[in-house]
Symmetry: C2
Subunit: 440 residues, 2 copies
Amino acid sequence: MQCLIIAAGKGHRLRSKGDSKPIIPIFGIPLIERVIRCAQEGGVDDFFVVTGYQGERVRVFLHHLADRLGIRITPIVNEDWEKENGLSVLKARDCLREPFLLLMADHLFDPSIVRKLIELPLADGEIALGVDGNRSNPLIDLEDVTRVKTEGGKIRDIGKNLKDYNGFDTGLFVCTPAIFDALERCEKETGDTSLSGAVRGLASSGRANAVDINGHFWIDVDDPEAFRRAENALLDHLRGKTHDGPVARFLNRPLSIRISRQLVNYSITPNQISLISFLFSMLAAGLFSLGGYPALFWGGVLAQFASVIDGCDGEVARLKFQTSDYGKWLDAVLDRYADAFLLFGLTWHAYVDRTEGLVLFVGFLAIIGSFLLSYTADKYDHLMGRQIRQGIGLRLGRDIRVFIIFLGAVLHLPFWTLLVIAVTMNLETIRRLVICRDHG
Amino acid sequence: MQCLIIAAGKGHRLRSKGDSKPIIPIFGIPLIERVIRCAQEGGVDDFFVVTGYQGERVRVFLHHLADRLGIRITPIVNEDWEKENGLSVLKARDCLREPFLLLMADHLFDPSIVRKLIELPLADGEIALGVDGNRSNPLIDLEDVTRVKTEGGKIRDIGKNLKDYNGFDTGLFVCTPAIFDALERCEKETGDTSLSGAVRGLASSGRANAVDINGHFWIDVDDPEAFRRAENALLDHLRGKTHDGPVARFLNRPLSIRISRQLVNYSITPNQISLISFLFSMLAAGLFSLGGYPALFWGGVLAQFASVIDGCDGEVARLKFQTSDYGKWLDAVLDRYADAFLLFGLTWHAYVDRTEGLVLFVGFLAIIGSFLLSYTADKYDHLMGRQIRQGIGLRLGRDIRVFIIFLGAVLHLPFWTLLVIAVTMNLETIRRLVICRDHG
């Protein structure tokens, strides 16, 4: 499906953030790039963008973006960008002969909404608008939003000053070319050149559908306040998407999100962050092996800090559309090395304190148990599917493992730390073998 | 698709192996169970079996088999089992109204042939026969086989005494119910009640198709000589299907196949074999840690022997239709434990000889490197697909790792063995990270 994006307005209320609204970056990624990337994730790869104010700058950016993403972006010029947004839509009339998505450059959204709109069966001569029926959605600026009255899946009325309404205009449409006729008719009959005017016209003949998008993320980034809300919403999104263990959830993630928020402003890549976290772990292992409580203490603190940083690679990747299978894999492999070096450092520390073969053996069991737990987690997911995992109460993931090492180092109990890890990790591995035998 | 299996004959030439031919076991699995299992793998789950000689015994066996496999097996009785095999097919006339597979209880085959037959588009009134065009196929008994003359995908003539022929009758058919009419007509017109006679009749009107199955395994198990050939073919099959490294291929596999050939006669399960191999490895690790060259030597020999046995679990599983995802996973997890214990035993041995921290560190690197290699192999397959693996010359699999340990122990070089493993395994892991980055 083709996609038309309106990026012509001046956006004067956001001028504190930048002069050309579509290319104002939010966490390092310009607004219009976010819109295009999310539409792309939703299944679109042929874009038309109506430019206006500072059009040349926007068009240069889009030209490079098309190259970078390997998609088609056709710019369309609207000299009348100071007038209503309906005129911008009309400029695309000659390019679009089939049903198309219609998005706004300053409306961010979750790709699931685009998928919902694309899948909608749309009759000739009709359009559909994503409508948010959640009247207490905290991301909405009630002063500015366009209100919608719907009934049985049809839009009955639309406008900023509606008194009787039950939803909000998300600015996310799927249209047949009938929208162009509706815009022209509306202008001729009422002099109104706004998109809402045309939608009202179609609604009066029952040809404007409402698509319920309650619960899906969207936001109109219109002023600095909305910009701040959009930033927080994107950061909040980072919590929900991961299968975090308890330490990650309540300790690491709140800290790493704060750090990631800063990191996105630099050109550091997620894989570089993975490497930095790994180096911190190696340094912590080195401190462990030095001997003496101060080194042990600071090694523990550094190990926990590395574990926090280890969350940032994924966060930055998601905020900047840089997730990759390779990145996840590299992170997993480096984590295994980091775990092993931390435990070997701790073993050496404990062995220097107490030169007994038992210490080495327990250290060995801790290393092998940690490894087997990661090894079985992976095979487990792959072979046994998700349903069984729920049955296993505690995941005993890396967040817990490093936290135990941190606690053990700070409390000056290296041998007992190794013993706890050796026993729990190996028992849990054996338990997985038994559970999978019974369910496989 | 339904499947008809002819299991009525006496099979007197195989009486040295057992009195009721369909239930004569080959590597512990009765012939007819092999036929049913392979058809099942090919996509069939509704079976009709024509029984005759010792029919009651065969029917009791089939009843239990249906329960065990969760499939439907309907027995059909043919009192005239001493006459030609066409009569057995005719007995199924009332059960089969749609196209069906027609197999012989004493013809073993690869499931790929069944898939080929099922996928064939078959016109009303036609049949198709799997024809082997490889005239030098060593599994064929030229004295006994039925010969076929084909032309442009059609059978022109069929019979044991054909002079002009270009293929062999595999006894694997897909038929429409037209086969029943052809059998009756053939009997009425010529008095011939053989299946070949009916096929000749259909061939004369161009309704008998030939499906080329060159290169796929099949064998008619008619006499002790063919029985022996079938055994060898099944064993040979064990070599081809695995991704063996060089040590596995040239040393372990030839030995393990000999052992598996014996093991299939006992009720030991593949998972039990995995556990026994694991226990041998643990014993070898124990011997390593005892200290002294004799213990080191015998530990090395035992480790290599455990590696040979480690091949038997998969072989027995394949010979007895007992492969399972859980079995493969258990084997992999136990292998990781076994590797780690062997290397820790060796490290301890080397450390007692030479009490230096360096020995412990090198031993640690050997353990972590071996582990990471297995860990990356798995993720590697999963994420990067098969195409890249070809690029990595040496797989450095477990067969090589244990062989290095064996050599090092026998040559009394524990520290150098650890050093070689530490360097090669970690370098290969790093190389994989680089290759995947470039290809991912």
